[in-house]
């Protein structure tokens, strides 16, 4: 027997969680895009899309985050730190790739300095992943040795049952159990079978690719130039990526007071590595694209033993010139 959360009870659950002080967040279809956003009612949630346009990352690592406000006084500089936001929240209906992304970035944000903004939010969030029953041409979790029902990063895994009537609940962590205890009255024991998880075909052989990338000779391969020739150098792939985590610290304000902020930055930009002298060690777009791939599949795993990619495919899906990790690794596989 399995416990089932029926969709018609979702409204009740949302109300219940909210009254227990949790902010409820989930996939929302807005007029222009879909993304994870706070909702007041269960019916505001939308589970129809393969994947929200924007990734889960931004709920933990927002595009701009004030850290400290400062005022330059006559003899000293007064500063007031922003504290990481307090408050528990439940993120209901993430995709496995998005949830995995959080787990991938955890070691990064904690290996020497513990980023309090990231971990405060991580500790206060319950991640409820819904296993995928649909995929599109860009999904590639399986190629990354993950799966549409991967539990990585999740506190609870839900498996949809037929006719979208609800989800089979698998509590994975203590945090997940606590959150679902709040709505236990709406969880029913029932023998409904789960819809089979979607089969995402494998697009490339990761091991082959990694081996190629690790071979120092290939750093200067002309492959990089060919594959990135059409790259226009925008940051839509990095900013929509659930694992890309680069940021820049900026002081912003008038001449004697302002706010120090943490802003997203991207290795796609020429300015990312530009030195004050004017010299740029990554002076070409191909060097920047190579860095992105190397970082995700060579340097990052070298340090944290995990690839910095969860296979969501947003980089390819959104690319203005139809590039992406998929194509690059596919081409590397063929080399």
């Amino acid at each position: 027997m399995t416990r089932i959360l029926f969709s018609d009870k979702l409204d009740n659950c949302v109300a219940k969680w909210r009254s227990a002080g949790l902010t409820v967040i989930g996939p929302v279809q807005e007029e222009a895009i879909s993304r994870y956003a706070a909702v007041e009612k269960g019916t505001d949630l939308s589970f129809g899309t393969v994947l929200p346009d924007r990734s889960l990352k931004e709920l933990f690592f927002p595009q701009t985050e004030p850290m400290t406000s400062y005022t330059i006084k006559k003899n000293e500089i007064e500063t007031t730190d922003f504290t990481p936001p307090q408050g528990k929240r439940i993120i209901f209906g993430t995709r496995a790739c998005d949830a995995s992304g959080l787990a991938i970035d955890d070691p990064l944000f904690g290996w020497d300095y513990k980023d309090e903004f990231w971990f405060q939010r991580r500790n206060e969030s319950v991640i409820v992943t819904i296993a995928c029953t649909k995929s599109d041409d860009f999904c590639m979790c399986t190629s990354l040795k993950l799966a549409p029902d991967s539990t990585k990063g999740a506190d609870v895994l839900l498996r949809p049952i037929v006719k979208n009537k609800g989800w089979i609940v698998e509590e994975l962590t203590e945090r997940g159990r606590e959150a679902f205890a709040i709505i236990s009255e709406y969880l029913l024991e029932s023998p409904e079978p789960a819809i089979p998880t979607v089969i995402v075909p494998e697009k490339f052989n990761l091991d082959t690719c990694v081996a190629w990338l690790q071979n120092p000779e290939n750093f200067d391969s002309k492959f990089w130039k060919e594959i990135s020739m059409r790259c226009i150098g925008c940051a839509s792939c990095t900013y929509l990526c659930p694992t890309c985590h680069c940021f820049d610290i900026q002081d912003e304000g008038d001449t004697y007071s302002g706010i120090r902020r943490k802003n997203w930055d991207s290795c796609s930009f020429a300015l990312f590595t530009m030195h004050t002298s004017g010299h740029n060690p990554r002076s070409t777009q191909s060097a920047r694209w190579r860095q992105r791939i190397m970082h995700k599949f060579n340097y990052f795993p070298g340090k944290f033993s995990v690839n910095s990619c969860s296979g969501c495919g947003r980089c390819s899906r959104q690319c203005p010139v139809d590039m992406g990790i998929t194509e690059t690794l596919q081409e590397i596989s063929k080399l």
Binding site: A32, A235, E252, W264
Partner: protein, 276 residues
């Protein structure tokens, strides 16, 4: 299909006889409805050329890639009329030598693709003048009507809502053939005129300054609008500014390779009814 085949042959011929060193066109993308830029240097690559009504991207921005034109050899490029106008502006702003560009012009109605006569940008001046005089009736989308009915307060709220989504990925800028600056003003930090942070104020400043910098230069190719991953209707602003310079200064961006930039020139009798 006929157009595509003919152009494949032409490109092969021109490559073979050394008239061009490369042609920039389109090929199939990762899904059936996608086309991606293609750099043709060999006959085999020419066989990958696809030309159909879904080829929308204005490829002219690739021409200003550093070093591409510095050997003074010619480069071919597939362009819709908007793209041809881009070439004119790039030439007028000294970013390229128009004589180095071999244009493979095309346009489409519905699913039909037809070639445009001419190879050098100058040969399209009649066509472009016709477009200026008889602009394609832009089908007004519901958003147009909505914005037209708004008062200033509502328009402000509308745009702030749109800009609040912006993540400052600069896909609009990178996709735009006109954004060829070596250093964008948003990346200039002494002083930092535009807040780099992606809060709504910073997003507003960025988008409005980009629109200003494109005024009189935008050809409405739609690259920015298509590139925007968060679907901000940038086309509406650029269209509005194009109308403004056309009505105000009779300036139709990209009409000729010697056209004076509208904001670097003036007429003594320019309208000034708004000045107190």
């Amino acid at each position: 299909m006929i157009t595509q085949e003919r152009y494949r042959t032409t490109v092969k011929e021109l490559l073979a006889n050394g008239s061009i060193k490369m042609a920039i066109g389109y090929r199939l993308g990762s899904t059936p409805d996608r086309r991606r830029p293609l750099f043709i240097r060999t006959s085999e690559e020419a066989d990958q050329l696809v030309l159909d009504s879904t080829c929308m991207t204005n490829l002219s921005g690739y021409l200003v890639t550093e070093g591409l034109l510095s050997d003074e050899k010619k480069v071919g490029i597939f362009l819709r009329p908007e793209g041809i106008r881009s070439i004119n502006i790039l030439a007028a702003e000294y970013q390229l030598n128009a004589d180095q560009i071999v244009i493979f012009g095309f346009d489409s109605t519905g699913r039909d693709v037809r070639p445009l006569d001419g190879r050098n940008v100058g040969e399209f001046s009649k066509l472009l003048n016709e477009i200026k005089e008889h602009p394609l009736q832009i089908v007004k989308e519901p958003l147009h009507w909505r914005i037209e009915k708004m008062n200033a307060k509502e328009r402000f709220d509308f745009w702030q809502e749109e800009f609040s989504r912006c993540i400052k990925c600069y896909a609009c800028r990178q996709a735009c053939p006109m954004c060829y600056c070596r250093r964008c003003i948003v990346d200039s930090n002494q002083p930092q005129w535009i807040n780099t942070s992606s809060h709504t104020l910073g997003n507003f400043e960025w988008n409005i300054v980009r629109a200003f910098h494109l005024s009189g230069r935008c050809v409405q190719c739609g690259n920015c609008d298509r590139a925007c991953p968060v679907n901000i209707p940038l086309r509406l602003i650029n269209q509005r500014m194009a109308n403004e310079v056309l009505d105000g200064f009779d300036h139709f961006a990209g009409l000729s390779p010697t056209q004076e930039p509208v904001l670097a020139s003036f007429k003594k009798d320019d309208t000034e009814t708004f000045i107190l």
